[in-house]
Amino acid sequence: MSLKTLSEFNWSVMTPEFIILGVIALLTLLDLFLPKRVDRRILGWLSIAGIVAAIIALASLLGTEPTSILYDTFTLDMFGKAFKLLLLAGAGLVMFLAVSYDAKDGMEEYRGEFYYLFLTALLGAMFMTSSGDLITLFIGLELLSISSYVLAGIKKHNLQSNESAMKYVINGGISTAITLFGMSYVYGLTGSTNLAEIANKLSAVVDGQQAYLLGIAFLLIFVGLSFKLASAPFHMWAPDVYQGAPTPVTAFLSVVSKTAGFVIVIRILISVFYNAAPSGDGSSILFKMHDYLAFLAAATMIIGNVVALKQTNIKRMFAYSSIAHAGYLLVALTTLSANLIFSVWFYLLAYMLMNLGAFAVIQVVTEKTGSAKIADFAGLYRRSPVLAVTMGILLVSLAGFPGTAGFIGKLNIFVGAFYGEPHYVLASIMIAATVVSYFYYFGVMTQMFFRPARDESKFNLPFGIIVVLIVAVVGSVLFGVAPNIALDFLNKL
C-alpha cells in the first residue's frame, strides 16, 4: 500500500465542507468568548452567511469534472453536487427558521449551540453526499444523527422535547446497529469499504449462500436506513419526535435529514447493489429485492396518508405527511427507472420548498398560540391572509396539484413508474394515497379559510420567516410552472 502524500490531493473540491467546518469552529469559539449579553442570533446570521458562502463555493465547483480524493473517501460527482446543493439550500432555509425561533424552555442559553449543531449535522449530511466509502458514509450519517439527537432535545426544560430526543436516540441507536450489522456483512463479502470496489467484487458473486447473505445484508441496511427516511417499517418515531422537537429542528429532520437519508440509500443501492450477484438472466440482487422495496414503499404511503387523517396536531400531521412523501420517493427508488436520480432530486427539491414553507407557517402559528393543534389554524385567513394564502399554496403543492412543484415531482416519479416495465399496482397505490392526502391537507385549508377565528389578533412575521415563505412559494410555483429551470440545471451538471 503506497500512499500519495496528502498534499497531492485536490483538496479544493472540499471547499464547501471546509467552509462549513470553519464556520463551526468560528461559532464554537465565538460562542465561548462572546459576552453573555450579546444576542446569539448573530451567530445564526453568521451560519447563514457560511452556508451561503458554501453554496457559492459549490457553485464555483459545479463545472469541475468528477473528482475523488483519498481512495474515494471523498468524491465530488454530479450526484454529490446536486444533492449537496439541496442540502445546503435546505439547511440555509432551516437556519432562517432557526434565527426566527423564539428560544425558551431551557434553550435560551444554548442558542449558539443550537446554530452550530445544525451546521455539524449539515456537515455530516454533506459528507454523505460526497463519499465513495462506507466508513465516511457511516461517519457522516452518525454526525448528522448525533447532532440531530441533541437538537431535538435542546429545549431542556420541555418534557416533550426531552422525550422526543430520547425516542429519537433510542430508535436511532437501534437503526445504526442494524445498518452497521448489514454493512458488516457487505464488508465481509468483499473485504472492502470502497463502494466502487464493493460493487466490482459483488458483481462477481455467484455463490448461492453469499448471494443470500447479501440479500439479508441488503434488507438490514435498507431497514436500518429507513429510519432516516422515516419510511416503513422504521417510521413510527417520526410523529413523536417531530411533535416534541423545536419547530426548526422538526423542519430540519423532515427535510435535510430525509434528503440525506435518500442520498445514502441511493448511493448504496446504486453503487453497491445495482450489479450485485447477477443471476443467469443478468438481474442483480437489487432487482430481486424489488418486491420488498415495492411493498415497503406501498406500506409507507398507505400508513403515512391514512394515519395522517386522524391527527389533530399539525406537527404530527406533517410527520405523517413526511412519511407519505418518503413513500412516494421510495416508489421512484423501487422503479429504478432511467430518471431515478432526476425524479428523486426534483421531488426532494420540491418537497424541501413546500415543507419548509409550511413549517415556517407552523412555527409562526404555534409560537403565537402556544399549541400546535390543527384547530389553531382556524380563521388564519382572517388573521393573516398572506400567511393563509401562502400556506394554501404550499399545501396544494404538497397535495400534488398542477401548477406547483409538488405536481411535477409526482409526475416525474410517475413517468418513471410507467416507463419500461410498468408498475401498475404501485403507481395506483401512490395515486390513491395522494387522493387520501387531499383529506388532511384540505382539512388544514378548511380550518384556515372556512372556519371562524378564535381570536382576531394579527401576526407579525420575522424577517427570517418572510424569507423562507417567499423562497418556498416562489420556488414551488416557479418549479411547478417551469420545472425545466431546475431539471436542465441538473442535466448540465
Binding site: V169, A177, S184
Partner: protein
C-alpha cells in the same frame, strides 16, 4: 490456520446482536436500553473484526471500521445518557414506558 471457523464468530456476533436487540426492545430501564444498544454495536464489531481476518479479502479495514464504530457508539452512548439525564430532570423517571406524553 485457525481451527475456529469464521461462522462460529459470526454466530456469536449474531447471538449477541439478538440479545442486545431483545434488551433494547424490552427492558424497562432506559440505561439498560442504551447499554443493550451498545451490545448490538459490539456484535457488529465482532463481525467486522472477524471479516477483517477471515473475510473475502482480509484487510485491516475491518478493524479500522470497528474502531470508528466504537467511537461512534461511545459518542452515542454519551449523548443518549445526557438526554436521559435531561429527561430525568423534568420527568423524574428513567422508565422508558412512562415516556408517552406524545402519542395519537
Amino acid at each position: 490456520m485457525s481451527s475456529v471457523p469464521a461462522s462460529a464468530f459470526l454466530a456469536l456476533a449474531l447471538i449477541l446482536f439478538c440479545i442486545g436487540l431483545y434488551g433494547a426492545l424490552t427492558k424497562r430501564n432506559t440505561v439498560i436500553v442504551l447499554i443493550s444498544i451498545e451490545l448490538m454495536l459490539n456484535a457488529v464489531n465482532i463481525n467486522l473484526v472477524t471479516f477483517s481476518k477471515y473475510g473475502m479479502a482480509p484487510s485491516i479495514t475491518g478493524q479500522v471500521f470497528a474502531l470508528f464504530a466504537i467511537s461512534v457508539a461511545a459518542a452515542e452512548a454519551a449523548v443518549g445518557l445526557a438526554i436521559l439525564i435531561s429527561l430525568y430532570r423534568t420527568k423524574k423517571t428513567v422508565n422508558i414506558d412512562e415516556m408517552d406524553t406524545m402519542k395519537n
